[in-house]
Symmetry: D2
Subunit: 352 residues, 4 copies
């Protein structure tokens, strides 16, 4: 099966991040085109990602079987016959038109949130896709893919804690640009927890209250920040959300689910912290895969990248030899019940 | 640039894990061949990985431009012209011969630890590679690639905590097979911490003492488990290691470095926990990339996999529409200072 | 100075707890009288606390210079000339009359919350005390005395985190009796966080909203449990409170303060957990007093109690001898750089 | 029963701490005498503790029925007829003579560690007490009284985790005076873990190895710091101890017990952290007593102290009234499903 050929629209922070992801870490896909009103930015990105990982400067071959093209008009990118699928990371106001174009060309699309800027245009997109008779649009509510959120969802759905009653959410950014105003806190930040509440409760939101406490003094543009929202679900459950986009400290996202027989919290850095039956705690992994799975991924990706450059980027044969020498002495110590000196050749004598 | 064509020798737990990694998650590489004395196992793995991710049964096209071959003799795999690079995940006693073959054919190789079973054969491998004048061998000391260990190394090397004085290591497995005996605890388990100590101290180990306290009663084969090792570095620093391979609880690996002006611990589930200047704690990430980087990788990999199958595997346009409706009501609530009902079309009316 | 002679009204769970506290752990006070409508309960308590700590049965002397009297009518207890001060732990509906009696007799009183059952009677108590020209009443909002809450208050008042913007509170009980109904969740549970919000913000509450999400199925009496309250302060700050009195898991109280430059949370079991300037964490104590202060208090209290009974209740001289023998060997090991056997007399030979 | 009349020998840091403890927080005891070679220090302490708590300057009555006497010769203090029991907090070299005097006068004594400075003199003390036929000496191994250590002991003794195999101990001080040399690290610091190992294993120590890694550069006096000790128990179990008395960061004491079916760690700030059967975590308390027991003790002790001074030192009647007003509005909000304004009298109008 051929690799999926991807075009990315918008290469700001989010789009550039996706571009690097597709080129460097995603299997079965190639980045073939990018589009951005800021052409120099698009060109620079395309060029840097056409070089192998870890090589700062190189004239020759691109990564993948061809270079990444820069296409001025996003609608041309969508229509391009060499583009199999599209990632939309442009500003929200551009989404509606670009999504409609993707539907028209029957291109699968991963669209960063929000889907569109208002309810009506979002509904039109839904209806247009429905008319096609085939789902092509995925929205970038990425928390559903976070291992902690996914584990929380699984735990709640298992029914082990009984029915879920409350969700407490915290969503904090270090700072945002001055252009980020009160409404954007709802539409661009709170929107993540809106999806989290719908997804975890598997229910629609019936009523919303957004409280604006006296705002922080550390924001220049008069934005109402922080905000505190109450989401009342159709079933009667409640989710609350603190959104604070000028928290100064850093980035922090948490979610605590309170159920009839216990609670579960994510975002503390220790996976899912549960409280039930008189105990608080979490799960000790069965084996190395849960603990070191990411380390192995990184090891092999870096080894592949280095090998393609003709290099080594990790522990060498000498490191393997030194470990063998120590373990041999260790086994002797274990057998004889005493300290044992490690005998090794000198590195300089062996490797010159 | 062409994808790196990889052959894997040994498809037990570790090798099968690497095979799936290369096929499903590593960019720039293809798995083209596997070899294992257990032929049915090798065939089953090759077949299952030749199907697109998430497809249980399918007759047609393989993932990548060709199927994964099963090659009976590992030396044939190494010699095969279609194999650019080799991953060795066979039992340790087979490593020496396979590594020598890799060197002979000038194939880059990622070799699971141990390099070989004894000091002498390891030295011969080092010398053979040195004679080639080019490093081809990387040893699978994967802790160096774990983000927590890497952050610990960076912190210690920064000198911020002063000179490192002590390392306390804990290495625990839930259980091991009965064939896992006292010497293997040293050679296959302790060996990881041997490399950790050499790497973190950037120094060789001069003396080793392996203590065998009265063993757990929960191991049938008479193995001396747990073991407690003292590694004395050439510089005079000390690392201690508890290895306990029948801990019953699960998998646990920790490392605490004690330095002149503070300590740093990993393996607690909260990245690097430091103590310095009257404070304990860790780092709050700057932005979403540290917190949700893996979630984005999973989102895009699953979207690519689903798209190649012609499917959607994530939040739909409807989810985007529902979020837009809630946010619109939320902005109204914020502006009017009161609860607002969410107005939405019925899903059944729109999607039929 | 004479010990303070205390009378306690109400010896249910809370009152009995206070009684034991005064007798066993409080310096400078004696319990001289208790009163409770349940006379057998009052008698049993008075008798058990008149015996020295740790003695189950004893005929003779009481703890302190006299036995604890049981007085039927709480107003008689208040009026009693031998009672210097009163602790009220009776049901809330009895508080108003008992407080007025304390004021009448000019007796200092520590009154468990709530002060009284409604706003009007509470105001009358305040006015009556004000007319006396001397404060005699302290209300049992004990969180102000919790070391974690006190440290949080001190941190917020220091201004280090900027102005406090939000408080998130959680207040959970394992279960409550069937008699505990919806209004009591407000008046007896939420009331603690009402005081916490007033105290931490140093401000009055201007508006309150109590949300009742769909209740847990694990409560028989139809109580609206959990509840979620929003307290809007006069200054515009907001405190939210989850109260859940049938949480099943156990007892849990938390408070997170969100300020302009960081956050601080208590109730996680690690004192005050702060987030500021890119760091999360807490304080490492300067010396043993913060870590082991309570241990020393317990050691000395148990030594005093045992000594008054003519006994030993801790490490003996033999334990001191054994430690000396080990340390002597340890110093030799340190000096000679080798393991040293510990030489000790046999316990049976020395102690017979 | 009369209060126990206590004399304290040595009022350095530890002795002064004990003195304050006896006077301010211990029930059933009075401090009647102190002795110290530094007479001005002893006089200052006696004077300050003869005043009620919280009163900086006062001419009149002492706390308790008499002032605290200063007795020059510690042996006179021991012999004094007004002293029922003795706390020895003098330097270790003075302990042997003072303990013998306590035995001679049949005075119960709580002696700070070490019992004496060497094995022989310790044995003589043990034998002298044994000859008396009555235990009078308790040694200040206070960790046995720490709630965390006590809970760890209880867990290990329960057999729930199987047999204990290993203890990992960490004992760190911020800094120590220059007079604190290598041997004192063993005799005054390590001695605590020597007792911990004997107590938790309920076994004697058969062999000890004290490793001295290359020492920290941040100690001027050439002391071997940190040290790392291996204690081999008679039964074959092993305890290891890091002692680091110039850690710079602060005070830290930890103990991890590794048993056949799990591990338990204290000193992390979260009581006993256990790992067993695939889970890590701890216990959620049943009710408020475990969480807020200390807060209640402090509340009542401060109320007693303030009441004896004729003052209030906590939430006032006004605080009770304000809480009542908020709760009344809260109940109305709960019943009517809407925000409710809080109606309260103005403080200035009521309290003038």
């Amino acid at each position: 099966m051929q690799d999926l050929r991807i075009g990315i629209i918008g290469v700001g922070v989010m789009g550039a991040d996706h571009a690097e992801r597709v080129v460097r870490r995603i299997s079965g896909a190639r980045l073939v085109a990018v589009s951005d009103p800021d052409l120099p930015r698009a060109n620079a990105l395309a060029e840097s990602l056409s070089r192998p990982a870890g090589i700062a400067e190189q004239t020759g071959a691109a990564n993948g079987s061809g270079a990444i093209r820069v296409i001025g008009d996003p609608l041309d990118l969508i229509a391009d016959a060499q583009v199999d699928a599209v990632i939309i990371a442009s500003p929200g106001f551009a989404h509606a038109e670009q999504l409609m174009a993707c539907l028209e060309h029957a291109k699968p699309v991963l669209c960063e949130k929000p889907l569109t800027m208002d309810t009506e245009s979002s509904l039109r997109v839904v209806e247009a896709e429905h008319k096609l008779g085939k789902q092509l649009i995925q929205v970038g509510f990425m928390r559903r893919f976070d291992p902690e959120y996914a584990a929380l969802k699984e735990l709640l759905d298992s029914g082990e804690l009984g029915r879920t009653l409350l969700l407490h959410n915290v969503h904090r950014n270090k700072t945002v640009p001055d252009t980020f105003r009160s409404e954007m806190i709802v539409r661009d930040s709170l929107v993540h927890e809106v999806d989290v509440a719908r997804w975890l409760f598997d229910d629609e939101i019936a009523k919303i209250t957004v409280h604006a406490p006296k705002p922080t003094g550390l924001v220049a543009n008069g934005a109402l920040d922080p905000q505190f929202a109450i989401l009342e679900m159709a079933s009667g459950a409640i989710a609350d959300v603190e959104v604070f986009v000028n928290f100064q400290v850093g980035y922090e996202v948490r979610c605590e689910a309170v159920a009839e027989k216990g609670s579960a919290t994510i975002g503390l850095g220790v996976d899912v912290l549960t409280k039930r039956a008189g105990q608080w705690g979490g799960v000790v992994p069965e084996d190395y895969r849960a603990r070191f799975g990411t380390a192995y991924d990184i090891e092999v990706q870096r080894w592949v990248d280095a090998t393609r450059r003709g290099e080594i980027d990790g522990p060498s044969a000498w490191d393997g030899y030194a470990a063998a020498a120590v373990c041999t002495a260790g086994i002797q110590s274990l057998q004889e019940g005493r300290p044992v000196e490690v005998e090794m050749a000198r590195k300089s004598e062996v490797l010159g």
